[in-house]
Amino acid sequence: MLKLIKCEFWKLKRKHFVSFVIFAALLFPIPFTALVLAGSVGNFTGFDAVFGLLVTLGEPVMLPIVLGIVAAMLFFMERDSDTLKNLHTIPVSPAKIASAKIAVLFILGLIYSLATLISSMVGGLMAGSEFVNIGEKVWISVVTSLLYTASTLPVVIIIVWLNRSYIFSIILTFFYTMFDYMLAYGGQFASKEPAMKLISNILPAPTIYRWQAAQFVSPDSPAYSVLEPYFLPLWIVVLTVFIIGAVSYLAIVKIYGKHES
């Protein structure tokens, strides 16, 4: 399996999108740093503020979109280059190939998230603060990246299942992410519709935010009393997202296995 994952990375060589995205992750904190320097982020300051903004507002959008595009690249690669027959006759099973590709998504998610952390440290430095609680921030980064990568898998099912063009997959990912994101930050608190309640309890981003909010919303802020009833402990969030991820994983492996080589 390790060999397969290594090979998946080799196949990404000269695919400039991937390195470009990691680079973008490093630049992404600039606007947030500017916001923090302008002093418009409530009670948090410096590094804490930049990091908090990135993890709760930046990554939930960027990570699923980036990973959706990378997933399309990975899952269309064999189809487009007609190499599936070479893999099948080695033999490597389609289930293993699909698993390796999903593992690559998790690894890239982690790299992306850690790149974000590093650049927010630079941003924090510019905002003039000291690095506090680095250990905790690494932990939050890791958990966030794992949760959000898993949250991307449902859209990967559709990408693999429909097996269409890149553009189509990108649009699909974009809409899924936006919908998920809007529910997380507004929909789930604003709406009392039972259908909306149900959706926001199933979709990953609203669930993840209910853990993140508990980490980042300070008890003295006015939003706290509104959000507090929604807070979830990490284990419930992890369990929910794990179930979503595991079901998606099984579906992806099954659908990918049906593709003709």
Partner: protein, 307 residues
């Protein structure tokens, strides 16, 4: 006891109502080159895909190394090298990088296998050129390199000389021959080019519209090819009647009313000539001929022949 390296029993593939391969029984012997010959769409690729487990047969069985393929893929496939239809490689990687991926997945760690395979097909090792920048013939060579890289005992090559120039064809032919003669590999090769197969193969299977019409050694096939006397005469119909009644023979064929082919070469040609002239038929030419394999193909695949 199983003497065959590759054997199929009643192998059949239907796509919807269309039968692509029908009740195929092929037998590939150890250490020989078997040429599967057929026109476009005859079912060569479909057959090979089924041999490799890439396409599930509708019915029938594939046995390789004497064991059924189904359920033994993990044991059988690593001992086979194959090239199916067009070469498939990652366009953003070089030839060496491409082979490295497949070598890694096959558990080959030493770069000497990659280098050896590339040398065999005359491609440079560690070249900077990307696969997407390769010419058709170079892509085909790389595909052959992939097939032989892990030194398999059996090679299954679907139209390996597609896109190669004449020198490339001769090179590939000689190393395929060598793989078989010097290293004892068993090779199944498909082609729609008759001359290629007759230069290379020891055994030949002729497939047409999914049906195996004939399977025998090249030698037998050549012996079977009829000798005949070809007359060019002023009135072939009349000449045929005269010869037929004189010698009680029916093994003749007429075309264009001036060509007469007489398959019984034991008849006295001089006497035939004299009789025809006496009956007022002009003889422009008469030769003893041997049917080429090509003519034979046209005959058994029903006319239009193989390119």
């Amino acid at each position: 006891m199983d003497e065959y390296m590759i054997e199929t029993r009643g192998l059949t593939k239907k796509y919807g109502s269309q039968v692509s391969v029908s009740n195929l029984n092929i037998h590939v012997k150890k250490g020989r080159i078997y040429g599967l010959l057929g026109r476009n769409g005859a079912g060569k690729t479909t057959t090979m895909r089924m041999l490799l487990g890439l396409t599930a047969p509708t019915s029938g069985e594939v046995k390789i190394f004497g064991h059924p393929m189904q359920g033994n893929e993990n044991k059988i496939l690593p001992r086979i090298g194959c090239l199916i239809e067009s070469p498939g490689f990652y366009p953003n990687l070089t030839a060496t990088e491409n082979l490295k991926i497949f070598a890694e997945l096959r558990g080959i760690n030493s770069p000497k296998y990659i280098r050896g395979a590339l040398e065999l097909v005359n491609l440079p090792y560690r070249d900077k050129k990307l696969f997407s920048e390769y010419s058709l013939g170079m892509k085909q060579r790389l595909a052959i390199a992939l097939a032989v890289m892990h030194e398999p005992e059996v090679l299954i090559l679907d139209e390996p000389i597609n896109g190669l120039d004449p020198i490339g064809i001769a090179e590939v032919r000689s190393f395929i021959r060598e793989l078989c003669d010097a290293r004892g590999k068993t090779i199944l090769i498909s082609s729609h080019i008759l001359s290629e197969i007759s230069l290379l193969a020891d055994d030949i299977g002729i497939i047409d519209r999914g049906v195996l019409l004939e399977e025998e050694s090249l030698k037998e096939l050549e012996e079977k090819n009829a000798k005949f006397v070809h007359f060019i005469v002023s009135d072939a119909n009349k000449a045929a009647q005269i010869i037929g009644s004189l010698f009680q023979t029916k093994s003749m064929r007429i075309s264009d009313n001036c060509n007469l082919y007489l398959y019984d070469t034991s008849l006295p040609t001089a006497k035939i000539n004299r009789t025809l002239i006496e009956n007022g038929i002009d003889i422009k030419e008469a030769h003893l001929c041997e049917d080429t394999l090509e003519d034979y193909f046209m005959k058994i695949t029903g006319g239009e022949g193989i390119a």
